[in-house]
């Protein structure tokens, strides 16, 4: 399932996944600052490859989050490579809390319904 490709998202991902990319990116950046490639790889590996951003498609998302002041970025050299590192801001942390609450509410509701049907 590709979540970074918005054009494909309409066809492949149900609408309830809207907001998931934002949640995942903010959640990852809550633990440490990262650059684009790292975020894509972390999402792929930590979701057991169930979710993946289209390669390269994460950057407009990150720029959007930066414009919304949820993340900030800094270009710097690490181990001979220049990269843009992104980190969460106070506003991003607040947004993450909101999205996490909403996500927990939805998944709890869906789980209850699914359990009911299996019972």
């Amino acid at each position: 399932m590709v979540i970074g490709n918005i054009a494909a998202m309409k066809k492949t991902n149900p609408s309830f996944l809207n907001g998931v990319p934002e949640l995942l990116v903010l959640r990852l950046l809550a633990s440490r600052e990262m650059y684009g490639y790292q975020i894509v790889e972390e999402i792929r590996t930590r979701t057991g490859e169930a979710l993946a951003f289209g390669e390269g498609c994460i950057y407009p998302y990150l720029h959007y989050l930066e414009a919304e002041k949820q993340v900030s970025s800094q270009r710097r050299e690490v181990e001979g490579r220049n990269r843009n590192y992104y980190k969460l801001t106070a506003r991003g942390r607040k947004r993450l809390e909101e999205l996490t609450t909403e996500w927990n509410r939805v998944t709890t509701g869906v789980s209850l319904l699914m359990e009911e049907q299996h019972a």
């Binding site: 490639y37 289209g54 390269g56 498609c57 959007y64």
Partner: protein
Amino acid sequence: MPDFIKPLRRRLVELGCPLAQVRRLVREVADHHEDLKQAALSEELSGADAEARANAQLGDPLVLAEHLMVVLRRSSWWGRHFVIGFGVLPILAVPVLWTLFLMLGLSLEFALGFGWDWKKLHVAADNPVAFHHLVLALHGADYVAIALVTLLFCWLARRSAVSLKWMVTSCAICSLYALITWGRIEPHSFTLGFTISLSMTQQWIRAAIPLLIASAIYILRRRTTQQFHEKVAG
């Protein structure tokens, strides 16, 4: 720089991506490509194979550019709701904005010319020469107001990276309103209104302002794009 960067950059510019965004996106995608290549090299692939795999993972640069633009456009309200923003909203907002900008312009002229003194204004209205200057001041403020409303929508269109046709649509709506609205000054009175009489030269001049702005922006954009390509190629 990898081979796919050039077509990616070109396509982003063609799709109307702001140039500052193009530079940043291209730089980050190039970094991403390098990371993919390094990952392939760490799996002991040859340089050429690593390059080929990184290219394959990023896919067709033209398709990637389209995807980047879709995400970019969806990241702003104006980009997501371009039909409402540039097709419907101008129909409702242009007369209001024009009135607002015109009143602001006239207030500024009143402040600068008469120091907010109504008595001086009335004296000027009774003097034919001074009154002629008042008429010219009204025309000036009117033209500036029309230009500002048009420029506002053009700026929003550019900022949200929507296609050129939506910028032209909002300019056409501004032009239509400029054709049918008017502001008139007579000694001791000032009125604003609508008309469907198209016989006045003044109305056609007003209508031409948004179209001239649209044309100027189109030419400027083409020239900037060309210069950007030449600079990159050089």
